[in-house]
Symmetry: C2
């Protein structure tokens, strides 16, 4: 698999250098430069919102540092969680004296390192809370949602938490907004082709030329089934059926994210969106916010995911509040 890169050992650092050069509103923080923060000073009294995770998923995680979204983000190697140091650096950068929410995907390494970083932060007088993204319905059953992985729907939690913090919410309120967004968001993906970690001998996984995998995770974690490819409307109907089977009782309006895992082009996302809108209409569910594009990827992986965030009178205005980061502008 060909890549436009230099020495794979420098991939992450060169990528971060380029990100900050292309977006001067972002800066490196920390001795090892593996955390990214906003270049403006953290406002005193505002709750900080921090995320973190492995590289290879841009815009996730660090592309969502910006106004009304994340204050800082810790970055690991490709598909590896950030170090404890990087998590500490991100928490320190997001400290405005009102506490810091750590909001990231439900993966073992990330949890362990953010937990340690939170303990060190507490020793320095910084209060933290943790909320985990668990939106991938293919990764565990509806009775074990705490085991589910976080995928594309995490960005709705970023948006809700960021808006609540920008509006002056305290740490409990910001954590509650993030948790509510997580609890009301469901995602399922479909994979067509693999990505490859820079420097690796081969692709992360293989999949036959006529096959697709329903529910595969963003690092290639096994999904629900692998079958021959079919017309996408049939696939969308199946995906929407799985998503809507777990809808909350008060499901009336949703925010929709049709996301490219990397190589799948905009044209196909719009073909998918069109069918998603039809299924929602038939289910009597209105669409309150629409996102279509590469929001959470796995480098050049082929495939797409559908996320639904079930809106209520608290979540909808938080998602609609103004926000501005390199990859997402609202209002």
């Amino acid at each position: 698999m060909k890549k436009l890169i230099n020495d794979p050992a420098n991939y992450v650092d060169e990528m971060l250098d380029g990100l900050c050069a292309a977006h001067p509103e972002l800066v490196h923080v920390g001795n090892d430069r593996r955390a990214i923060a906003r270049s403006r000073t953290m406002p005193l009294g505002k709750v900080g919102v921090v995320s973190g995770g492995g590289s290879g998923h841009l815009p996730l995680f660090t592309g969502y540092v910006g106004e009304g979204l994340l204050d800082a983000c810790a970055i690991g190697n490709v598909f590896e969680g950030p170090t404890i140091n990087s998590c500490q650096d991100a928490i320190a950068a997001a400290n405005g004296g009102a506490g810091v929410l750590c909001l990231f995907g439900n993966y073992g390494g990330d949890k362990m390192n953010f937990e340690m970083a939170g303990e060190f932060a507490a020793m320095e007088g910084i209060e933290t809370r943790t909320v985990l993204g668990t939106d991938d319905i293919a990764s565990a059953g509806p009775n074990e949602t705490a085991k589910r992985r976080g995928v594309a729907g995490l960005i709705f939690a970023y948006k809700a938490a960021g808006a609540k913090a920008a509006a002056g919410g305290d740490l409990d309120a910001v954590a509650a907004a993030a948790q509510k967004a997580v609890d009301r968001t469901r995602t399922i993906g479909i994979a067509l082709s693999s990505c490859q970690i820079p420097g690796a001998a081969g692709p992360n996984f293989t999949i036959a030329d006529d096959e697709i995998e329903m529910g595969m995770g963003i690092h290639g974690e096994p999904g629900i089934w692998r079958k021959p490819i079919r017309p996408v409307d049939e696939l969308v109907d199946e995906m929407m059926g799985l998503l809507l089977a777990e809808r909350p009782q008060d499901a009336r309006r949703v925010a929709v994210l049709v996301n490219s895992l990397g190589a799948t082009p905009f044209e196909e996302l719009f073909i998918i969106y069109r069918r998603v809108a039809k299924v929602l209409d038939e289910a009597g569910i209105a669409i309150g916010q629409r996102l279509t594009g590469p929001y959470v990827t796995s480098m050049e992986m082929g495939g797409a995911s559908i996320s639904l965030c079930y809106l209520d009178e608290e979540i909808e205005p938080l998602l609609a509040a103004p926000a501005q980061c390199p990859f997402w502008q609202v209002g």
Copy 2:
């Protein structure tokens, strides 16, 4: 090559249905629904700005219909120019009584059909002008710039023309702004892997697993050379050398677009951007605007292009003026 589509015969229309469903500020116009316009009424007295081209390049062409950009766009089948009818529909939708600029890439079919549509428009009392995008320096030599194809740099001409029209410029002024942006923009691309037209038996072209092609066009038109892949900094240095060799004498500031041709991920674009910024710094050229992402693609084609638009005191404020479309927000 796997695609998330239905019947290939419906690919373009389903894509356009999805685009308009996901972006209610856009609407279909015309009997065959192959032109897209803004859903708001065309303001009386404003010059219209229209583009058009084949499908398969989103966000180009029709993704740039929006405030301060295009008023309407004609859409052809994948990699085929729009029909005369669709060009007429787009011109009619962009008619505010002050004339319409037709601004599109320098391809034979597009030119022929827009020319005929312009003649029909004249019979209906709509004055038109034509400006052609010719930014691809790999497609013809510096003494035959009129033969060059239009590629990613066309979006700078959209922005300049759209801003000039929004500011109340007359048809001559809007055409002059577009022509100046074209004249001051240079692009070169590098291809890693092919795309495939929906329904075709195979990919558009083949390229060996360890090879890349410098200067390939966005439909797979032959480039300058095909060689084994090298570290991307070396490739960027060569691309920048070719671009800067044709810089205008007053080159002091540029807008930069590092564009993904489809499958090449954001991470690699930022690694490229970082090197582009270094080369420009060493050449004493300042960067006035930065764009990094999939702005002009060929579906799932792998590769990237670099565009430089040399700024002057007229072009820079036009590029910086507020604009809003599904894929590009400024200000």
